[in-house]
Amino acid sequence: MSDRSSPAGVAASHVVGPAPHIAAPLSCRHIMLWVIAALAPAALWAIGNMGAPAIVTFGVGIGSCVLTEFAWNALLKRTQTIGDMSAVVTGMLLAMSVPPRTPWWICMVGGIVAIGLAKMLFGGLGFNLFNPALVGRAIVMMSWLGVMSEIKTPAGVPAPGGWFAALSVPASGKLDAINGATRLAIAAADRAGNGGYAYDLAKQYGPLLLRNLEGSLGEVSAGLLILGGLVLLARGIIDWRIPVGYIGSVAALSWAFGSDPIFNVLAGGVLLGAFFMATDYVTSPITRNGRLVFGIGCGVFNIVTRFFGPMPETTTFAILFMNGLAPLIDRMFMPKPFGYLRPAKAVKADA
């Protein structure tokens, strides 16, 4: 705040300001750097497996987000805000929510939309209603649905050897007819087509956790995403209520609908959503109970649309839908002050 230098000449560095005079060390930038660090293992592992196309996707995603924010501030002569690193986080999340072979110009449009339309137009970090990365992804997905659904697993990615090979089975398994589709799409087609479970969901745990090459960059390793999420939880960067509500309700509902809860948590970007997207501060509720409700809402929307909607990949829309409800949820779950309307009763509650 408005510190002014010493009027009494105590020392050149002497300043005056309002209480409190000390502050917790965690700044906004630190928080964003932690999120980047937590995403890094999954991102690097994706690059390691996908090679050049993944590097291009990450590069264009992050670059277009940062440049859009930079240009916006520069054109409107605002204070530059790229130093808070939130645009880098958005770029990383955007890149991780699209397939590695997404044409670079689609990534670029995604980045421009994410930052320009979903963030800066609303007034910048702190004022946006919807998660920028998810808006970017949703818009490019809808605009180029044809292009995006044609994207196949990169050919010629060498399978790793040793014990690892056993885990990295291709998604399609027996159902060769839909080669290149994600495990989730295969599972959905299987359920719709045969009404049974020819596709062994339990066999998919290993690949989904460690090396899954079908789907978006963020789906390569659910295991590394869990690791990153746990780091964020341990560091107090994110509140446990959102991921617990989200993952818990996905598991519970998919079990209730007769499917495999673990498969449903690991597939379709649920973990990326639960740990890294739904937990976006700006677009999720601020109240404790509100966050739990928000997380549960994301999971319920995600699973209901996954099982009963036209497409199984609905994480993006689940979170965006709940983003829209966040202000309402906050209003409903506003905490009651300590001592709120507890008159005479309090005396009797003696220990």
């Binding site: 010493s6 209480a19 005079h21 917790a24 700044s27 601020i286 300590f338």
Partner: protein
């Protein structure tokens, strides 16, 4: 006894190690004593002396006939050199009696107070005792509880949850007997059956000293260690921790039958009753970026610059200099202000420690940390943003009046929003408008 945990709060580094083991030493006699006529909450005193008058140690130099007030006594014998306005730690210019102390002082004697022997409230009033924890509310007022809500529990606050400060810690160790005696006197004055001293568990030696004093005195006083968490020493949080009672919104602790006094205040009351000694000096922690941090017994009215000299002077790049603790104290623009009754410490922060505040003015990112940290379960950002837009109804609707101004919200905010500052402005605006609370 089961201790209850209040929700929220923060864990700032406690930084007490430099002074916690430093015995209280008397600060040197200053060349000038400046006694503000308003060192307490309530009506300011009128000066009773004029320029040129001789005063003795213990003599009343200012008082007023209002219910909520506390007289001011000269801590030295000397000559009144001026009666004029001067700057106080709060930043306000108030009427002060300026005294030039005699070179040879007999600090062992004083003019005893004049009050009925058996009326503790009247004695506290005559002795000018106020809450020494920092709030400086006149103690006599609290010793006359409202008739409709009898007091059954007296809590002595030895939490000292503010970082850096160790004055209460030292008082509990060095004057444990007086703490216990003071507690007994207050308890019998208000008719409290249960007496509990709450001490944060980062001060095991203080608890030990108190327990010893309690058993030696054969007193019926509980001593309870509390988890170290700021603001454990806030009145409502402390009452909840020790009794499980929740003070309803907008009401005083007496509404749940509890009275809370700081341990230092108990000592002052004991001295006032036992030896008729008025409040003329107090223990002050001088800590942070000074050469020899320590605890000092300081005559009220001593300039803070003298006190910093007594602690060896400032060292390094000095940022904020705070009267009181770093969470709620006053940042001083000038060191030419006196120690007053409510000055528990002088904390010198380095430029670096004060730096996180400088680069601020980012918007709220809705991280929820302020909500999580608020010990009153408020929504600090909502209150602050309404206050910022001068939408006072929002301050009221989000219960801004329940804010205890602990500063936890501002402390944790990663974008350094001046939350408690805005909330305070909202509260005063509501008070001006006459919203009751």
């Amino acid at each position: 006894m089961a201790v209850r945990l209040f929700r929220g709060g923060v864990h700032p580094p406690d930084r007490k190690e430099a002074t916690a083991s430093q015995a209280v030493a008397r600060a040197p006699l200053p060349e000038r004593i400046v006694l503000p006529m308003s060192q307490h909450l309530g009506a300011p005193c009128q000066p009773l002396v004029a320029k040129g008058d001789r005063v003795s140690r213990g003599q009343v130099v200012g008082s007023v006939d209002a219910m909520i007030s506390a007289p001011v006594h000269s801590p030295v014998s000397g000559e009144v050199v001026d009666v004029a306005k001067a700057l106080t730690p709060s930043g306000a210019r108030v009427m002060c009696v300026h005294i030039h102390p005699d070179a040879d002082q007999d600090l062992a004697t004083f003019v005893p107070i004049d009050a009925a022997a058996d009326d503790v409230a009247a004695i506290a009033r005559a002795a000018g005792v106020v809450g020494l924890g920092g709030a400086a509310f006149p103690t006599s007022v609290k010793l006359v509880p409202p008739k409709r809500s009898p007091i059954d529990t007296l809590i002595l606050n030895g939490c000292e949850c503010e970082p850096f400060l160790t004055c209460d810690h030292r008082v509990m160790i060095e004057s444990a007997d007086a703490v216990v005696a003071g507690a007994a006197r207050i308890a019998s004055a208000v008719g409290a059956k249960r007496v509990v001293v709450g001490v944060e568990d980062n001060k095991p030696d203080a608890l030990e000293a108190l327990r010893k004093a309690v058993s030696e005195a054969g007193a019926d006083i509980e001593t309870v260690g509390l988890p170290t968490r700021y603001p454990q020493g806030a009145e409502k949080q402390l009452i909840f921790a020790l009794t499980g009672r929740v003070v309803p919104q907008g009401q005083l602790p007496s509404s749940v039958g509890v009275l809370v006094h700081n341990v230092g205040t108990a000592v002052a009351i004991h001295e006032a009753v036992a030896s008729r000694k008025p409040l003329m000096e107090r223990v002050v922690t001088v800590a942070g970026a000074v050469a020899q941090p320590g605890n000092f017994l300081v005559l009220l009215g001593t300039p803070i610059s003298d006190l910093i000299e007594a602690a060896g002077g400032l060292v390094g790049d000095v940022g904020r200099i705070v009267a009181g603790g770093p969470m709620t104290g006053q940042s001083l623009a000038s060191l030419d202000v006196p120690v007053v009754k409510g000055t528990s410490g002088v904390v010198v922060l380095t430029a670096e420690e004060s730096a996180p505040h400088v680069d601020g003015d980012q918007p709220c990112i809705r991280c929820g940390r302020c909500v999580e940290a608020c010990p009153m379960d408020l929504h600090p950002f909502a209150i602050a943003s309404h206050a910022d837009r001068r939408m006072w109804f929002g301050v009221e609707r989000f219960h801004g009046l329940d804010c205890i101004e602990c500063g936890c919200c501002s402390y944790v905010c990663p974008t350094r929003r001046p939350l408690v500052q805005l909330i305070k402005s909202g509260k005063s605006a509501l008070m001006v408008k006459g919203v009751k609370r």
